[in-house]
Symmetry: C2
Subunit: 336 residues, 2 copies
Amino acid sequence: MSNNRQPATIYQVAAQAGVSIATVSRALNGSDTVAESTRKRVLIAVKELKFRPSRLGQSLAEGRHAANGIVFPDLSGPYYAEVVLGYEEVAAELGSSVLILSTHGRPDPAGKVMDLARRVDGMVVISRTVADTVIAQVTEIGIPVVLLARPAVGSCDTLNADNVDSAHDLVGHLVEHGYERFGFLGDPAGSPDVHARYEAFRAALRAAGRRSPRAPLRCDFDVESGRRAAARALRRPARPEVLVCGNDETALGALEAAKELDLSVPEDVVITGWDDVMAARYAGLTTVRQPMRELGATAARWLQERIAGNAGPVRRETLATQLIVRSSCGVHDHKT
Amino acid sequence: MSNNRQPATIYQVAAQAGVSIATVSRALNGSDTVAESTRKRVLIAVKELKFRPSRLGQSLAEGRHAANGIVFPDLSGPYYAEVVLGYEEVAAELGSSVLILSTHGRPDPAGKVMDLARRVDGMVVISRTVADTVIAQVTEIGIPVVLLARPAVGSCDTLNADNVDSAHDLVGHLVEHGYERFGFLGDPAGSPDVHARYEAFRAALRAAGRRSPRAPLRCDFDVESGRRAAARALRRPARPEVLVCGNDETALGALEAAKELDLSVPEDVVITGWDDVMAARYAGLTTVRQPMRELGATAARWLQERIAGNAGPVRRETLATQLIVRSSCGVHDHKT
DNA sequence: ACATATGACGTAAGCGCTTACATGGTCTGG
DNA sequence: CCAGACCATGTAAGCGCTTACGTCATATGT
């Protein structure tokens, strides 16, 4: 009946139903012993007043946010978007809201992360979005942190996609083709994943008895940056036969550079990526597929367990990846 | 000195600094008149105890969450991811945390949205993720809502990307090529944008004096769905010369279907998309570019204003889009 | 019929902050 | 030398819930 502008509180419901607020709370939260007739009266009052319990009041009383956060560099590429989606799906199932925080190109990521820490019961941190010290500070507050695609810090659970096996598969495949001169495109210092990929790539090359590659051709993660770096490399007198790129965006840029220089792929130069984003398929890019959703989903589950108080041993796992061979690394009988 | 497990409260800081909690609050929130010496003492205590004010306590007292939400169908395609990113960036600048909610394929989206409404000061709802009645319920609670890529509801601010002008441009371009038999791929009932695109497409065709297309070839938004629907259409005896697709994913599927049927694009069949996702570029797809980030950013600003209490007139705006001509719609002199 | 167990509900103490108002001390001017 | 003004700070009342504990009436057993 009453149509106030402000949302109703539990007190108004209690008054309307002629009971105490404790009873309202009990009636609403199912549990406890409430007479059926009373519960009905309460529910009617709730409906009439359009009452919805304030999350703040609840959280404060319960001592938990029922929310957790995820920190990522960016959402532009399909990679993080998929991870976030996998994460959000599981978190939602588990009854937690999800707060997001993107750090790339933003001022004061550390401060933002500390801020986030005050609003959540736990959080997932992807890649090297913030310094180790920040992670430490967050866990010190008592907020569980799960690390994703990032080297371990302290005693946080850490989840990664495999870079080593796939690098070996990739190099093995390329070596079968008979290539000799390899180059690596991407900045190992820019992301833990790229770093791991570069190291694994070198190791695999060594294991295959190939010459060590030059220093990596450093560039950012975007297409344009990859294009420029690749163009530089491909103009050199002794240009590499193969350009292994740290991620797909970079590789797509390299494909463009090759085209501009009238080099055909894979005849004149072979190019491979990493991640298997959607565009990779249309560009015919040989790459490594990551279980992106699975990464997010697993992180969400681990986090939930820590929040629930699971004090088990620290988890460090690596999810398997898959080499996807397309046309950019040489001619095959495959289609697609 | 003291190293407790639980995070410190304002009481402990007050005790340690020898002042009342009111003074601590004042010292921390800058404003009020606090003697410099006192402030210093407080800050020292804060540092020693590693105090961080509880967001819950603050929010409850302030009566605001300092957070807002964004509801979208999915994060798989680049489209929503970009919108969300644009949104998050501005929201962060404005000091709000961002809660996300993805609805596609999830149980009880309406309930989830109502839940979200209890945790935020306002929210953005993209596309037809929930029914109009749910939007109405949310606004009734007093939570401002900004609608994105969705028909207006009640007196919510509503932001859209243009579909009409771009449809005219697109059809105009295709008509110049001399094509006659047009088909539309996508489900107008599936999304407000696709609906608007279909209608505008038909209108443009009529305006150009072309035959009306058949009923749309209904399919979902993903590549696979587009492939199947396109395959069906392209096998018909009088197959369309042009397949205008409601979004890029669908169009990419159509490209695949054409390939499988050994039809070459654009010679045998012309295919166009909508959105200009990254893969579109590599697939040579003619499409319509949307200002995705700008959509998100603008929505965030509008929302903030409403939350701040701006009671101005309802806003309804349409952002301009741009026709991107590539190879899939015919041969041009262009590159890329 | 009486002590006791049981069920249904109310009371009140938090949860951790912000802020209106009250208090007391120090200055200022006449 | 004192009233009034002004600072710096304390007091306490919320904000909207949950929940341990207390209370009262009715049902149970002998």
